[in-house]
């Protein structure tokens, strides 16, 4: 009860809260629901009830074992992989991605960073299924991403904007977010710039309401309609498909630019990791 009250206080006044992977992400969502009037956040009572037993929590557990296991041609674990906070330091790392990495000279999201570490540290060939299969709860990627991301549960999104490339990618991502094209003249903004509006029966999150947007970008999440744990990159791919635009290449610069912008727009709000979505 006291912890509950403290968390409310921390969220309300914007004090960074510490990651607590043992806390059920549904508690983070409930704090967000209490902080803003949002039809998007409250649209599914069923999901709120089911989140206590979110199947993505199992994906996290499987990822934990995988992360610490010696694997790949070099037979080493991922414990020396640097996700931005130093080798093997995972707490809060995902909430501060995408970010610039000096060793590659690139702004990378979690997925591309994981590919980098699996190929360089563990020595997996780039076309190994462990590296290449990106979608589905049973893939190494979804397990590892879910585990790493869960170490940012409840922490405020805080992608650094210190390096000029981080800022450049974020700003280009904003332009891409608004860039209308394709058969239906759509951009991300078409569906994500008003509050409480629906596509069919689904209430859409508004990029300008950071509490809503925090849940919207909280991936990995278990998608009930797919019965799979899904990633940010998968969400992006689905949106481009629906917009009748070209299919984005996973981990490509344009996708990372969009992820940089969308993470920046949730800045300061607590991440729900793993989340559950319809």
């Amino acid at each position: 009860m006291i912890r509950h009250a403290l968390l409310v206080l921390a969220v309300t006044i914007g004090v960074p809260v510490h990651a607590d992977p043992s806390q059920n992400p549904v508690e983070v969502l409930k704090e967000l629901i209490n902080s803003v009037d949002s039809a998007y956040l409250t649209q599914s009572d069923q999901n709120l009830m089911m989140m206590e037993d979110n199947p993505a929590l199992w994906t996290v557990e499987e990822g934990k074992a995988l992360f610490h296991a010696k694997r790949g041609p070099k037979n080493v674990s991922l414990e020396t992989c640097d996700f931005g906070m130093g080798p093997g330091k995972l707490e809060g790392a995902y909430a501060a991605m995408p970010r610039y990495f000096k060793d590659t000279g690139k702004v990378m999201d979690l997925e591309t960073r994981l590919v980098h570490c699996m190929t360089t540290i563990q020595g997996f060939p780039a076309d190994d299924p462990a590296v290449k299969k990106l979608h589905g709860s049973d893939t190494d990627h979804m397990k590892l991403q879910s585990y790493i991301a869960a170490q940012s549960n409840g922490m405020p999104w805080n992608p650094p904007m210190d390096h000029p490339l981080e800022k450049a990618m974020r700003d280009a991502g904003e332009v891409i977010f608004y860039r209308r094209a394709g058969s239906l003249d759509m951009s991300c903004q078409t569906c994500h710039s008003v509050t409480g509006k629906r596509i069919r029966a689904s209430v859409l999150p508004n990029v300008y309401v950071p509490q809503e947007w925090s849940k919207a970008i909280s991936w990995p999440a278990f998608r009930v309609g797919h019965q799979e744990t899904r990633s940010s990159q998968h969400r992006l791919r689905g949106c481009y498909w629906q917009m009748r635009k070209a299919g984005p290449v996973a981990g490509s610069p344009a996708t990372i630019a969009v992820l940089s912008f969308w993470t920046d727009m949730a800045r300061g709000q607590p991440a729900i990791l793993p989340d559950m979505k319809r």
Binding site: A168, D185, K197, K245, A254, A257
Partner: protein, 225 residues
């Protein structure tokens, strides 16, 4: 020129970051992202960086690249974040009106039942990882994503509700013309609207537009019950 900029940038970085060894700017053929405007970088990322599968064929006969290149309307609405000034809005309306082609023999209503299927369908023109095969099924109108239609089912509300549209507006010549124009190219009335150009972009046939119009205007349609 480019090399000059890149060298200069690398120097600046080396000075500011000290042990800066691997340089993104040193990658051959890759421009320095930090020296580009956000608009130029976005254009580069979308069309020149290999970020999208642009060679994929599309149902209309071109490639995905053509879908990603903006036409004048898309460009202007993106640049103004869908808030064109009065002069721009006038230009958009004029161009949209000029784009509208009317069926020979005037605008007529088709089959409201077929129109209902089209209005409630989301099939057509999707590419990427799972392309729609138009030989299996005709492309639909996607109306329900954004509009409430018949009271029996839940439609979206990004656009206005069209429930009871025929009762409210009647089936006059003027109404038919307006509905036809709105489906064909809605920028003729609402510059930089979110609504797609189902006729001007060739997404729906004349027959499909007539059927969807019947679904909205025919007194027997569930929209008007």
């Amino acid at each position: 020129m480019m090399l000059n900029n890149m060298t200069r940038f690398a120097t600046v970085l080396t000075l500011s970051l000290g042990a800066y060894t691997t340089s993104h700017a040193a990658e051959p053929g890759k421009p320095d992202y930090t020296k580009m405007s956000a608009e130029a970088l976005a254009e580069h990322l979308v069309l020149e960086s290999g970020s999208f599968d642009l060679d994929q064929p599309t149902q209309e006969g071109g490639t995905a690249r053509e879908r990603m290149i903006q036409d004048d309307l898309q460009k202007l609405c993106s640049q103004t974040r869908n808030k064109p000034n009065a002069e721009q809005a006038g230009q958009i309306v004029t161009a949209a009106r000029a784009s509208i082609q009317y069926p020979e023999g005037g605008i007529s209503l088709g089959d409201w039942q077929k129109g209902g299927d089209l209005a409630w369908g989301g099939f057509g023109y999707r590419i990427g990882h799972n392309p729609d095969d138009h030989s299996q099924r005709d492309p639909s109108g996607n109306c329900y994503n954004c509009h409430a239609l018949s009271p029996q089912r839940t439609g979206g509300d990004i656009g206005p509700s069209l429930t009871g549209y025929g009762i409210i507006r009647g089936d006059t010549e003027a109404t038919r013309r307006f509905v036809y124009d709105m489906i064909y190219n809605p920028h003729a009335y609402f510059p930089c609207t979110h609504m797609p150009r189902m006729g001007a972009k060739g997404l729906l046939t004349q027959e499909a537009i007539a059927d969807i119009m019947a679904y909205l205007l025919d007194p027997e349609s569930p929209v008007n019950k």
